[in-house]
Amino acid sequence: MKILDRLEEWIITLLMGGATAIIFFAVVHRYLAGLSIPGLQDWLLSLNVSWTQELCIIMFVWMAKFGAAYGVRTGIHVGVDVLINRLSDSNRSKFILFGLMAGALFTSVVATLGAHFVWENGAHYAFLSLTGAEFGDVPEGPTTPDLEWPTWIVYSAIPLGSSLMCFRFLQVAWNFVRTGELPHHDHGHVDGLDDEVLPVDVDVYGMGDNLHMHDLKHRQVGDKKGGQQ
């Protein structure tokens, strides 16, 4: 489980950093290629970098799909929780469980649809050609326009990311049933601000803001239950 957690974190971290570096490189390349510096210009013009936008988009879509799963684990997804946060603990916990199971339902449906789509979109053909079987009328799938990568590989972010997300919803739900606790990017982080150094993982979408469900364990910064943590 720890390995899966770390893997998830590393994937989205690297995708985030990588995409930034790629666009930086593309802009610098285009800028320099426009200057008529003998030699350098010809070399830069000969480099083919028209794939950078496409790659950046693919990386960010993957980052978004796996990051959404990570977001379930960290409890960052926002909802309309003003009303249920006013309910009694026992009623609220029913809604919380319902919400988590709805998340699991949606992501599992999407994972299934996505897997089916990827299969029809070229994975089936690729699988057959890999095993050397007859194609019949199974069509070869399309490719992306610039990199010319098979789109089924690119699109598999949907089934993979959604499956992981579904798993995370179930994990959070199970944890909630057992402990009454929801993941929080803790409000406590802002407590240590007096020393004027902001912790790097302070999260503006995580301050008991009625956009997230209040669990049974943590008291909120706010009116009704006092200011204590």
Binding site: T13, F24, V27, C56, H77, V80, D194, G227
Partner: protein, 427 residues
Amino acid sequence: MNAAIIFGILAVLMLTGMPISISLGLTVLTFLFTMTEVPLESVALKLFTGIEKFEIMAIPFFILAGNFLTHGGVAKRMINFATAMVGHWYGGLGLAGVLACALFAAVSGSSPATVVAIGSILLPAMVRAGFPNRFGAGIITTAGALGILIPPSIVMVMYSVATNTSVGALFMAGVVPGLALAATLGGVTWYRARKFDYPRQPKASFAERMKAFRDSVWGLLLIVVVMGGIYTGIFTPTEAAAMSAMYAFIVAVFVYKDMPLSDVPKVLLNSANMSAMLLYIITNAVLFSFIMTNENIPQALADWMLGNGLGVIAFLLAVNVLLLLAGNFMEPSSIVLIFAPILFPVAMKLGIDPVHFGIIMVVNMEVGMCHPPVGLNLYVASGITKMGITELTVAVWPWLLSMLVFLGLVTYWPGLSLWFPRMLGMM
């Protein structure tokens, strides 16, 4: 009829408190499954292609840049610079707070991030200098909202995604209203500080000002990099976002050295976390607006409204009321992504400029962020000051009231938003 069913399902699902993205997605699935012949696989396709657009990529880039700036000592130096410039006037540090928020807003795309960056440093300092807690909290909560009006702005990118309006023109259209709102909030601050005779800072000497400027120049230069880069055509708005992330990284880690290299993965991870959450809402909102288009709902709604003789003035009033109400339950990105595709076609038929309409929505979102029960800025400020939400709400009202007046001005005076981008020839 279909419209009623779709919105009914959505409202019920949202009120149960599940993530907004999930309730959007489940609404679409339920509707597709029971009432249409659109193949369900198109949902899977849309979930990928919904964010497969280069303009959207500005969002993660701006979030990343904002995180580097927040943690990399840029905010601190901007506050010092602002204090050196205006700290000796009535309102002292408070006025410096408004100026620092405006400066930071010009490099950050998010309002709550602006509140965190400026507030976490300035608010403790204001208390030490003898200001009442609530004075500072009121200023930073509202001035932090400039984060989405002064470019760059994540909410503007969301609006442009939802309506196909040019991001560059929206950014430029935010400049003048942003400065005007900063001046308004500064005015309220000055007036109240004078009335209650709050402390003023000693006037900084010219040398001190120069030093504060030199210290903060790397942060201030980013304003030139982003706006100048877009305007002079070195890069597109999306590329500008990537460049500012790279620049902020270099400034935080190598120039100011307030952030160790070992913190960089953590900043990347946190930025990815928040970006992914917003991108997930976008994907599902795109899905939602796809199903509405497929059922011809926005057009029908537009025709119905116009058929009932709705004029520009009444429509804009209705839009403001609707968005202010929505601001009680949701955060800005979701509001823009859900409401813009519905309201936009009507606005177009009434001849309202798409860029102006975007600025109206953005100012609305700013107001929504500053009042309970849901208001991101308010909760961030509460986290920093440890004041209760009720107490904070009372603290915020003088500034919030002026923001409401300003909203009216922006709504019915298109020239305020449109003059600058027109002058630059961007529209």
